[in-house]
Symmetry: C2
Subunit: 148 residues, 2 copies
């Protein structure tokens, strides 16, 4: 397990890929975001077919972040999402590539024994001219410090 002191500002990780099937998109949409473009495969406006709820993309990317990075870190809690942007609609079965940069680490002033860590997450897909951004955000959270 890596603690606050074991993390380095600037470390960067390729976390792999994730895709959302049409069934998964509809299921999430029906439960959490039942707008027509997230639940109705016949919808034509505004995107010409089913697109994933942005909250679904965020949750599915979070799963990748947990599996490939955060499960190995002594995290305590998420504090905020910052610098967030959904850049483009996500269609069924698109392969999304997830990378993470640990952009900042600082001791918490108010909570002894903890530090604050900023994970900058970038999600892209292959476009005609190379990788295109789909979703970018920072996840800011508390991480446990080593007990001396």
């Amino acid at each position: 397990m890596r603690y606050f002191e074991d993390l380095e500002a600037g470390e960067s990780h390729d976390l792999g890929t994730v895709s959302l099937s049409a069934d998964e998109i509809r299921e999430f949409g029906e439960q959490y975001d039942p707008m027509p473009m997230h639940v109705d495969p016949e919808v034509t406006e505004p995107f010409g077919g089913l697109v994933a709820s942005g909250y679904h993309t965020l949750a599915a990317v979070n799963r990748v972040v947990v599996d490939e990075f955060r499960s190995g870190v002594a995290g305590i809690a998420g504090m905020s999402i910052e610098n967030h942007r959904w850049h483009a609609p996500v269609y069924p079965d698109e392969e999304l590539t997830v990378t993470l940069e640990l952009a900042e680490r600082r001791p918490s002033a108010g909570r002894p024994g903890t530090g604050i860590v900023r994970e900058c997450v970038t999600v892209t897909r292959d476009g005609d001219d190379g990788p295109e951004p789909v979703l970018t955000y920072d996840s800011v959270g508390l991480v446990r410090r080593r007990e001396d």
Copy 2:
């Protein structure tokens, strides 16, 4: 259906309440955020029991926003989450109260026929000294303009 022109900056809406059961918290956690505090009812650190994934709270609140507000607006797409903060852990079966203020509306410079709308969402629970914030965020999105 309300279009961009029908919305008023400053309009405020009580959207009702939502709660997350222990089963729902575990199910979401296993799918999207399998950290111990979101999936293991026996976990004691750091919160003394199961707490909801912040992404789950966000998605469940989004469902309330869609049902009680956004389904009546000619929305096109979400653009970003801004000013986001998870203020406190959410435990099973806590009643969360959701309010929304439409804080900003402006025509989109780049996308004719659309406007940009900022929904400020506040989620609270009852505390000893009145409502306590649990989650606050702005949802910024594109809304269709009326065709003249």
